[in-house]
């Protein structure tokens, strides 16, 4: 046991080194972010923020849903100031538990109302559209169906792939239930399963499979095409955006909310301003190929403007409440 104590003391010392080193630059403020967004995609933005605002960030990376559950357990004692979520569902859950403070209307003024909570409890930072990515050697644009629901038809047997455990796919199923009802959603998923789709771990694996011709079509978020192309060079893949408010063209957001228990409300507000303002809104289109959510910023290169996407009318705040039936449905048809 003595050895254990020595080790623990060492561990504690090592840990102090690690966490306090960043704060040694003087009496700067520190903000704790719980980030469900991957380090890879937000690190650059966070570093820019620290430099330009003089506020240190302590970022805790994790899975969005698990971080939301953690926030609920922490309650009053939460060390977090800001929750940066991968999807609107987890934001809605934390908002529903009454853990978010209201964000100033001034800060939110420039953000499209579709992309923030009606009570101003959370706000989107970037938008992503669902697409059907297809292999251009196997299919032409006119081969693509009018609706994502058509992929349940027998002609698509063995030609489709998607990642069922991915939060964005699950949000799409939740939106489908909201838009078309549970019966249609069930019928669609059953048809999809009957077509023996190839199921992948995540969006990126799905897109790579499309590029390799393993499947002809992948149901993914729009920006993975650019992620994979950046690593692999030219790939024979194109994004198909569905028209006419089809559920397959759902536009979802990643976003932030300020915890009611924050001890640095001003710094937290500055952070939200930063990521929803010019720095953030130019960062995401460039770095991750996501759409800006504030007015007056351009879509990423090579992408149709967000306004041209005929997305379905879904209140993103409702997604959180429909996620549970969506997951149950997916489990019932054998996708989870």
């Amino acid at each position: 046991m003595a050895g254990a104590l020595v080790l623990l003391t060492l561990a504690a010392a090592a840990c102090d080194d690690g966490t306090s080193a960043g704060a040694s630059g003087g009496a700067e403020e520190t903000l704790t972010i719980y980030s469900g967004r991957e380090e890879e995609y937000v690190e650059g933005l966070f570093e820019d923020f620290e430099k330009s605002e003089g506020i240190d960030l302590e970022v805790r990376y994790g899975d969005s849903a698990e971080l939301a559950a953690t926030l609920a357990e922490e309650g009053e004692a939460s060390p977090a100031d800001v929750f940066f979520s991968q999807d609107a569902g987890s934001l809605g859950a934390v908002a529903g538990a009454g853990l978010f403070a209201e964000i100033d209307e001034e800060v939110l003024g420039s953000i499209d109302e579709r992309f923030r909570s009606p009570e101003n409890l959370w706000v989107g930072t970037s938008a992503r559209a669902r697409v059907a990515a297809y292999n251009t050697e196997a299919l032409a644009a006119e081969d693509m169906p009018d609706s994502v629901l058509d992929f349940a038809e027998p002609e698509w047997e063995g030609r489709i792939g998607f990642p069922p455990t991915n939060a964005s796919f699950q949000a799409f199923v939740a939106a489908l239930i909201l838009l078309e009802g549970e019966d249609t959603a069930t019928e669609f998923l059953e048809g999809l399963v009957a077509n023996e789709p190839l199921l992948y771990e995540d969006n990126e694996a799905t897109l790579r499979a499309v590029a390799d011709g393993e499947v002809e079509v992948g149901l993914v978020n729009h920006y993975y095409l650019y992620e994979v192309a950046a690593e692999e060079g030219d790939i024979p893949v194109a994004n198909h955006f569905f028209d006419g408010g089809d559920p397959g063209a759902l536009v979802n957001v990643a976003g932030v909310g300020i915890l009611a228990t924050t001890d640095g409300p001003d710094a937290a507000r500055r952070f939200v301003e930063y990521v929803t303002g010019e720095p953030g809104q130019t960062y995401f289109p460039e770095a991750t190929h996501e759409y800006p959510v504030a007015e007056g910023f351009n879509a990423p290169e090579d992408l149709p403007p967000l306004d041209d996407i005929e997305a379905p009318e879904v209140d993103l705040s409702d997604l959180a409440g429909t996620l549970e039936p969506a997951l149950e449905l997916m489990a019932e048809v054998g996708l989870l």
Partner: protein
């Protein structure tokens, strides 16, 4: 029927007569430390009861639907099948590498233990990418045979295969250690009475190994019950998945808590089964003087099948996942020099070593009570101490989030908390080998010491402790290896900014950057190999009779 009277009835009776009484009452200090450990272990259970209590009746309705029962059956079925498979792999491997003239047995002994360092989610991923419908095997078959698509291996078969291949080393290691502790005089007696080598193995060796097999099988069964990574990659719905879906899909933690309590109940069922499989048998060496080395069996014409069997297991459980990681590693290297996560490696070693040390310390009273003072109190302590091992990591992690933020906020998100969580999660891995070692020490050694006028304490320190040290070392190694791979509790409880190799793998894999994940994954495996190699070599060397 040679083994039964030798191994059980008469010998156990003889021991009891010698002691002249039933189980001794444990000393107060031991009882108190046992209680303290049990108290730490029930943290998740208390939390679950609090959460389950707080919910409305609707949550219970949700739970009592047919699907929940169905999932419980699937979990139990998978645990049974994986355990049976792990025993079917682990026992022959242990026997072949320790007791026969198998060519290359030293290498095979190390290779047989090594799959333990591969996290089951990485293993399942490797199996899928190699044997999936359009995996590497299909690619190889497409050219010559025109196979366009292999049958889907996910589902029950895939989950069973992945879990069996990456957990059988628990059985292998405990059984190999058990064989090492065997008294050869039993086998000699069997042979002298004209049994064939196979008959001796089946009628004498195997029954004597029952406690070791049960101990390893217990670890496998409980591991299978709480695993989430492999079953979710293989898309086989079991209990843990229902719990995860609750956390993911709704903010109401009551249903998840009720489901977790049911999973804990399932684990108690496994413990009861193990208890009965372990039986009342006690296996001490009666012998006077020093134990003589165990003989080696000549395999003869079975040599080739034995080598093929060992190679096949090593190929699928070791070479295959390492190749997949190697593939991504090479891609990463080709794309530019990836960052080597040295600080994460240091952090992993530090926190896992601390977890292993504290776990052995905490396991000691539990194992001592179980081995030396069997009785209702010891049984309850042991059952409680094992409950954390059956719960999914996220449940234990959230329990600690809740308990520390409401009671001891200064402990929250600190390294000692991560270490405590490891102890709760992995205590049985330390306790099982320790108990097995203690059972083999035999009370008569202690009695001899006492008869020579030594205090109980002196006897323990001078006689029992050195003999139990081997079990302690094996237990520490197992906990260290598992802690290196642990993810959910580390993610939720670590100090902000604290990175281990497992969290680095996770970061890379969730971002879809397998090449980034490959470097920490390779490092994780390389580091884990060191303690595992030491344990495996010890097993091999001592079984080989090469004692100093």
């Amino acid at each position: 029927m040679i083994s039964a009277p030798l191994g059980r009835g008469r010998r156990a009776g003889a021991v009891a007569r010698l002691r002249g009484q039933g189980p001794r009452r444990p000393p107060l200090a031991l009882r108190l430390s046992g209680l303290a450990v049990a108290a730490l272990m029930v943290v998740p259970l208390v939390y679950l009861v609090v959460r389950a209590w707080g919910g409305d009746s609707g949550s219970w309705e949700l739970i009592l639907r047919g699907r929940t029962v169905w999932l419980a059956l699937r979990s139990a079925g998978l645990a049974a099948a994986v355990t049976a498979g792990a025993v079917a792999l682990g026992v022959p491997l242990a026997w072949l590498t320790t007791r026969t003239d198998l060519p290359g047995r030293r290498a095979f002994a190390v290779a047989a233990a090594l799959p333990l360092v591969i996290p089951s989610y990485i293993g399942a991923f490797a199996i899928l990418s190699a044997l999936g419908p359009r995996g590497m095997l299909q690619e190889m078959l497409e050219g010559p045979l025109g196979v366009e698509r292999l049958p889907d291996i996910s589902g029950f078969f895939g989950a069973w295969l992945a879990l069996m291949l990456f957990t059988y080393p628990y059985v292998f290691l405990t059984v190999a250690a058990g064989i090492r502790g065997l008294d050869p005089s039993f086998e000699d007696a069997g042979r002298a009475l004209g049994r064939s080598p196979w008959g001796v193995f089946r009628k004498i060796t195997l029954p004597l190994l029952k406690p070791s097999i049960a101990a390893g099988g217990l670890l496998v069964a409980l591991y299978t019950l709480h695993d989430f990574g492999a079953v979710s990659l293989m898309r086989f719905s079991v209990f843990t998945q229902a719990i995860y879906l609750q956390y993911r899909g709704s903010f109401d933690r009551t249903p998840a808590a009720i489901l977790s309590l049911m999973l804990a109940a399932l684990a108690v069922g496994v413990l009861v089964l193990e208890q009965s499989a372990r039986g009342r048998a006690r296996y001490y060496r009666s012998g006077s003087g020093s134990k003589k080395p165990l003989g080696r069996l000549e395999l003869g014409r079975w040599k080739l099948p034995a080598v093929l069997f060992c190679s096949a297991v090593a190929g699928v459980a070791l070479v295959l996942p390492l190749s997949v990681i190697g593939f991504w590693l090479l891609r990463g290297l080709a794309a530019g020099a990836p960052q080597v996560a040295w600080s994460a490696a240091g952090a992993s070693v530090l926190v896992s070593a601390a977890g292993a040390t504290v776990a052995v310390g905490a396991a000691l009273p539990v194992a001592l009570l179980a081995a030396r003072h069997p009785g209702p109190g010891s049984v309850v302590t042991e059952r409680l101490a094992y409950s954390g091992y059956a719960l999914p990591g996220i449940v234990v992690a959230l329990a600690f989030v809740f308990m520390t933020t409401s009671a001891v906020p200064w402990l929250y998100q600190s390294l000692p908390l991560v270490v405590l969580a490891y102890v709760v999660l992995f205590l049985p891995q330390a306790a099982e080998p320790l108990r097995a070692a203690l059972l083999q020490v035999g009370p008569r050694i202690e009695e001899a010491g006492r008869a020579l006028g030594r205090s109980r304490r002196t006897v323990f320190v001078r006689l029992v402790a050195p003999l139990a040290a081997r079990g302690a070392l094996a237990g520490a190694a197992l906990v260290f290896l598992t802690a290196m791979k642990e993810l959910p509790a580390t993610l939720l409880l670590r100090p902000t900014g604290f990175e281990t190799l497992a969290t680095r793998v996770w970061t890379g894999a969730t971002a879809g950057l397998y090449s980034n994940a490959a470097v920490p994954a390779a490092l994780l495996i390389a580091i884990s190999t060191v303690p595992l190699y030491l344990v495996a070599r010890r097993v091999e060397a001592e079984a080989g009779g090469g004692r100093p």
